[in-house]
């Protein structure tokens, strides 16, 4: 009851300020439901999507609470986009240091201190955690620390550390975590870390082995390699980023090899042993296309960092969702409709826990749209999941939006699809000894040549994509691109001068 009184007082002071009539109702309802704290909107998960949804709902007048079992900000701020980009920026400086002499600077030889950047990165992340906390406080959103679990009450109710909370609208935005491999499947697998562990490393590994071909694997490999770690990348098939456009997949694979990363194709980790010199990793290589080939066994020795980057899984364990009638798909992700409704009335889900478009801005936008639907009566408010731009911070970065060429051909047929491609050396590299190419592809369909996909890898592609994403979302055609005057000299001008 003590808690209830405390909350009532807080709510009361807030509500008196706004609406004295509803104050009476709120208090009466509380008295009836015995030690269950009521809100208009209860959010499980204080990451990008949950916080954005809660804040927007609060702006629209709803009483909100956010339940978080870790630091505020979720994956993006703590173990994702933000610290990753800090490390990427750090590694970009390594590249600049190679180019200084070509641009006339003498004496620019540098030593790298991992500890320094790690401390600064951690300090910045803590600073952001604090900003999120302040933002919640300013918006008068209750923060509840602990693990949420749905109870068996008839009305959807959440238990956190023995206290009960409920709301007519409950949002699950618990995010995800990196997948791991069990020691049964690969003996010694648990000697490795994941991307979460990468951000805890206190020094730069001398020899890193990364497993995986997705965007996290290639980003981490690029960062470690640029910062001076001898880096090996183990991939199951022939190339990395296989669900990206073929141009990007092949170019990125080539760039990784050119940058000195030791790439193991058609290879899997068989076992890991710990020795005094570091980890010994046994690999099995077999080309799946060649049926008769025998598996070849190799060993990498003296590894001080084995990093699994084989995918991400939704955070649904412990929520007791099976009891709630909230349906999960075979991968364990929460099934939602286009309005973020789960299969249970009054429970919604968005962000990484739904397994679709695992991106911070997607979760933020979905959270805000949902808040407008629930608390502003905008019944049609939903996020359009088509044409979402994505950047991968490889060296050089990748920018992509819309359909790949293969996807477009599958939807429209080969004759209606026209792809424009270009490959060039950006001007920056014309006077350097270190060279990198920029590749670009526009996928167009139909007679009017509507642009349905844009894929590129090259220096500056990270900042280049956003504006084109706006145009593509507006339905721009190749002619619209052509009719735009170029900005000279840039790399992005190539996209409006393609032939």
């Amino acid at each position: 009851m003590e808690v209830l009184v405390h909350f009532s007082r807080m709510q009361a002071s807030y509500l008196t300020f706004r609406l004295p009539v509803s104050l009476v109702c709120v208090v009466r309802r509380r008295m009836a439901s015995d030690a269950v704290t009521r809100f208009d909107f209860l959010v499980i998960g204080g990451g990008s999507g949950g916080l954005a949804g809660a804040r927007r709902a609060a702006e629209l007048g709803a009483t909100c609470a956010v339940i978080e079992n870790n630091r505020l900000g979720g994956t993006c701020v703590n173990v994702g986009c933000v610290p990753k980009k800090v490390m990427w920026n750090t590694s970009v400086h390594a590249e600049y240091l190679h180019d200084h002499a070509d641009y006339g600077f003498e004496g620019a030889q540098a030593h790298f201190s991992w500890q320094l950047i790690k401390n600064k990165r951690d300090a910045y992340v803590s600073h952001l955690n604090q900003i999120y906390r302040n933002n919640l406080d300013k918006a008068r959103i209750q923060t509840i620390q602990g693990n949420a679990r749905f109870t068996d009450d008839p009305e959807p109710t959440v238990d956190v550390s023995g206290k009960k909370y409920t709301a007519p609208h409950i949002l699950i935005a618990t995010g995800g975590h990196p997948s791991t491999v069990s020691d049964e499947d690969v003996p010694g697998a648990s000697l490795g870390i994941t991307s979460d562990g990468f951000f805890e490393l206190e020094s730069c590994p001398r020899h890193s082995v990364l497993v995986g071909a997705g965007y996290i694997a290639v980003e981490m490999a690029g960062i470690l390699s640029s910062l001076g770690s001898k880096t090996s990348l183990i991939i199951r098939h022939d190339g990395v980023l296989r669900n990206f456009d073929a141009l990007i997949s092949s170019n990125c694979t080539k760039e990784l090899e050119n940058s000195g990363i030791d790439l193991w194709r058609n290879t899997q980790v068989k076992s890991v042993q710990k020795t005094e010199q570091g980890l010994n990793i046994t690999l099995g290589t077999k080309d799946a296309k060649d049926k008769d080939a025998k598996e070849k066994t190799d060993r990498i020795q003296g590894v001080d960092c084995l990093l699994w980057a084989i995918g991400r899984e939704p955070n649904t364990a412990g929520l007791n969702l099976s009891q709630m009638g909230v349906k999960l798909d075979p991968k364990g992700c929460i099934v939602v409709d286009e309005f973020q409704n789960t299969t249970r009335q009054g429970i919604y889900a968005l962000g990484d826990v739904c397994g679709k478009a695992l991106l911070t801005p997607v979760a933020i936008a979905a959270g805000r749209k949902l808040a407008h639907r629930l608390f502003e009566g905008k019944a049609e408010s939903k996020l359009d999941y088509t044409n979402i731009p994505t950047v991968v911070f490889t060296h050089p970065p990748i920018g992509t939006i819309g359909l790949t060429e293969d996807e477009a051909i599958r939807s429209w047929g080969k004759t209606s699809v026209k792809a424009y491609t270009t490959s060039f050396t950006p001007m920056y590299y014309t006077i350097t000894s270190r060279k990198t190419k920029c590749v670009m592809k526009l996928v167009c369909v139909g007679k009017e040549e509507k642009v349905v996909g844009l894929h590129m890898q090259g220096p500056g592609c990270d900042e280049m994509l956003q504006g084109f994403a706006v145009a593509i979302k507006m339905g721009a055609t190749k002619a619209d691109f052509d009719n735009t005057i170029a900005i000279h000299p840039t790399s992005s001008e190539e996209l409006v001068t393609m032939r």
Partner: protein
């Protein structure tokens, strides 16, 4: 004698040789290769040197990212200049090869019009030739202007044409002196204030460049000089980046000032002399108000003229004289244009053209910097040329659209924009009829580097009525050129504010700030972005 080519029935005079006069200080003598201003003395060398300047800044940042550079770092101008010049020469050659591949005949000769169909060529050896064509295109470009009223300007100063071809960076050491002159009407007590204000400038560092003019060329040159560790000052008559959004212009110059570039606002140079030490003594008038003027002088190792459009100077006290109406001079002398009926603009001297690039002579066309009212930008000239060629070949009748031309100023903090400035939108639509969204943001790369991000800003100017069509889009920050291009496509497609906001951002980038923009100037709310 060549006759009309069936496929490309016209001659362009863009590529005829241009010979740079022997430079006043005997530094170099340059004969440009093919490619015009952009390749030889414009965009290309400028951007490469801008990259060098950015690398200079990156080196300061590197320490904050954990990279310690133990020894002293210096910059060797000649290494950079050589690399830039080699690249420019490779482009010259590339253009030449392209002409050959497309069977375009190339005459390295100086041309002039004899009549509307005949061009007379005179090469360096004095050999004459006559060419006839159905259509003639004049694309001779322009050159930087020296002021006419400043003694010593041409003799001792250089322009951006020369900067990129300097083999050595000019020498060091200079002393500074100050001289104050006030009209009798100003009270003595005022004089003390002035002395006090100016004396902070008495002890100056060495190796100093003075850039006169705050046109984009001037600011870019000052920025790249500062970036490679040289001392740069900019002398500005009135405002910087005239014609651009002035709030953005102030952010650009504010950033340069914060990084150590000195600005002399409200100043007009009056003379340059060469001292026995080799340094240049520059005298100028600082106009503080209608009643208060200060005559000042200082020494610099180099003076670079980059006067923008419509610099109006005052030669003498109280007497306003218009000097140098335009920054760049069109290259029309010797073309014999008025004689064949091609009309030149009385103020600018540029060729008067119609919307289809036609001059007052129906088969003579003019494109690029030499044409009146056209933006002095490479891509507009390139596009206008391509469209003109298609029209002349009868393949299309599409005209060049000079609206919504995106552009980027490659100052240390880059500035990219497309569409209208806030001022133009205000004067065209009225202050009450536009909505301006804005945000001060902090690039992630600035956070760790502990750099001052107070000049990183985005602004979207919208029509307030109806669907809130975007009229202008402005961005200062890293990679502005790469950021703005895509937005220029969307503006061309008729971008509205809602469409901008409906696009999912790319995190964490600077460009995403444009899709997150939501604070209006009208609201008066704090426009600083916090968190993700």
């Amino acid at each position: 004698q060549p006759s009309w080519d069936k496929k490309w029935p016209f001659w362009t005079m863009s590529n005829l040789q241009r010979e740079v006069q022997c430079l006043p200080r005997g530094l170099c003598r340059t004969a440009w290769g093919l490619g015009g201003t952009c390749v030889n003395v414009g965009c290309i060398p400028k951007k490469l040197m801008h990259q060098a300047a950015l690398l200079g800044v990156a080196m300061d940042d590197a320490g904050k990212f954990g990279w310690s550079i133990p020894g002293p770092v210096s910059h060797d101008w000649s290494t950079l200049a050589q690399a830039v010049q080699n690249y420019v020469k490779s482009l010259n050659w590339g253009h030449r090869v392209q002409l050959q591949n497309r069977k375009v005949k190339y005459f390295n000769t100086r041309g002039s019009l004899l009549d509307r169909h005949t061009v007379r060529g005179l090469d360096a050896k004095g050999t004459e030739m006559t060419l006839t064509a159905r259509n003639i295109v004049i694309a001779t470009g322009g050159r930087p202007r020296y002021p006419t009223h400043v003694p010593g300007a041409r003799e001792f100063g250089i322009t951006s044409d020369d900067l990129f071809w300097l083999k050595e960076s000019p020498g060091k050491t200079c002393v500074s002196r100050l001289l104050i002159w006030l009209p009798g009407s100003v009270l003595l007590v005022f004089r003390h204030v002035v002395v006090h204000l100016c004396s902070s400038d008495l002890f100056r560092s060495s190796q100093s460049w003075l850039v006169v003019g705050a046109s984009y060329v001037g600011l870019e040159c000052a920025g790249l000089l500062a970036g490679i560790g040289l001392d740069a000052s900019v002398m500005v008559r009135s405002v910087a980046l005239r014609g651009f959004d002035q709030q953005m212009a102030r952010l650009v110059t504010g950033h340069m000032e914060a990084c150590g570039t000195r600005f002399h606002w409200g100043c007009v140079p009056t003379s340059i002399e060469k001292l026995p030490s080799g340094l240049l003594q520059v005298k100028w008038t600082e106009v503080r108000s209608d009643l208060e003027r200060v005559e000042r002088e200082d020494t610099f190792s180099s003076v670079l003229w980059a006067i923008g459009e419509r610099e109006v100077g005052r030669e003498r006290w109280g007497e306003e004289v218009a000097v140098d109406k335009m920054g760049r001079v069109p290259e029309t002398t010797g073309l014999n244009l008025p004689q064949v009926g091609v009309q030149l603009h009385p103020d600018t001297g540029k060729i008067v053209v119609a919307t289809d690039e036609r001059t007052t002579v129906s088969n003579v066309y003019a494109i690029g910097d030499v044409a009146e009212g056209r933006p002095e930008l490479t891509p507009t000239a390139v596009k206008a040329g391509k469209l003109l060629a298609r029209r002349l070949a009868g393949q299309s009748n599409q005209l060049m659209d000079y609206h919504s031309v995106p552009t980027t100023v490659f100052t240390p903090l880059e500035y990219g924009c497309v569409g209208l400035s806030e001022e133009s939108a205000e004067s065209r639509y009225g202050k009450d009829n536009i909505e301006v969204y804005h945000a001060f943001y902090k690039p992630l790369e600035f956070t760790i580097a502990e750099r001052d991000a107070s000049h990183c800003y985005v602004k979207v100017v919208c029509d307030r009525a109806g669907v809130q069509r975007v009229l202008g889009l402005h961005f200062t920050g890293p990679s502005a050129g790469e950021v703005i291009q895509g937005f220029a496509v969307s503006v061309r497609c008729g971008l509205t504010y809602a469409q901008l906001r409906d696009t999912v951002g790319i995190h964490p980038t600077c460009a995403e700030e444009l899709t997150k923009i939501h604070i209006t100037k009208r609201s008066g709310l704090d426009a600083t972005v916090t968190g993700c």
